[in-house]
Symmetry: C2
DNA sequence: GCCGAATTAATTGTACACAATCAAACCTTA
DNA sequence: TAAGGTTTGATTGTGTACAATTAATTCGGC
């Protein structure tokens, strides 16, 4: 007796289909692509859209704030924000009280995009074919994973 | 009566915390970072690791095959595969029976990496703090989402 | 008030991602 | 078999991502 059960052979763990990571990697990219048609109409990219989500709510944030909330560093944010600045969507200026910080402020042209973007979340929700309980459970699980990974 | 319930105000849908997409985007990047220490030891990147997962299983695949399985196009794969070719991990040659196709073949140095990578999946599994049922349910849901998005 | 440590952005360099275009090879069918 | 359309990779250009380094500023302790 005591035959080893081996539900999965040892190197099955190295098959793509059994990876934990790949579905996240793939879904993330496919989701971004699904946003494309909506975002293209506003002339912005997906990470830029994320920056706007924060600015539409907070009006003014430092680069550090944005980095902490989006989990992005200055090497990504600085050029991205400069491109958005060139389009007059936001302003970049040093904090007079702490010259190390750069304050990102929403400009009128950026605020104007909010109305145009207001229909995007509902459209995307319909796009993913998830029930509301599924969605809620998923978001809970993902944010839980995030805290463990960070 | 008939007071509008408004469980969520209209523009709450535009808050980052209520987005469906962001958790996927963030978890995907944090997961990739979690792989980093293991992959760095082998000198490869995360997308290169994905290519290896397929080559370790199939030994030989066309660029088209890789693109279909990884959901990546030639603009991403061609330079990535050229870098892997320079490290003698794989070979790139035209299919003699169809000169449009490029066949990617695993070389000994690439095969040798398989043993060194064999412990990675288990290590990552421990890293994410998920029960096996949670993991299975998650993978099912994500692959289901993938089919809907593609 | 001064010095060393810490904080914050910016810069540099490498590696994806992907849209758009191009070019070669193949296939179809008249 | 020749023309037109399709398939397949490669190329180009833009925009992230991120590690590592640098530079300016601030803070804390003495």
């Amino acid at each position: 007796m005591d035959i080893t059960p081996t539900p999965t052979a040892p190197n099955d763990l190295l098959k793509l289909e059994n990876q934990l990571c790949f579905p996240f990697y793939a879904v993330s990219r496919q989701l971004t692509k699904a946003y494309q048609p909506y975002l293209l109409a506003l002339g912005l990219t997906y990470p830029q859209y994320l920056v706007f989500l924060l600015l539409w709510e907070h009006e003014q944030l430092t680069v550090k704030d944005l980095g902490e909330k989006l989990l992005l560093d200055s090497g990504t944010l600085t050029p991205l924000l400069k491109r958005m600045e060139q389009k007059q969507w936001l302003s970049r200026r040093r904090d007079p009280r702490d010259e190390r910080s750069v304050i990102i402020g929403l400009l009128p042209a950026g605020r104007a995009l909010e109305a145009q973007a207001s229909h995007i979340p509902a459209a995307m929700l319909a796009r993913v074919h998830l029930t509301l309980p599924e969605l809620a459970a998923l978001r809970t699980q993902l944010t839980h994973m995030l805290t463990h990974l960070a």
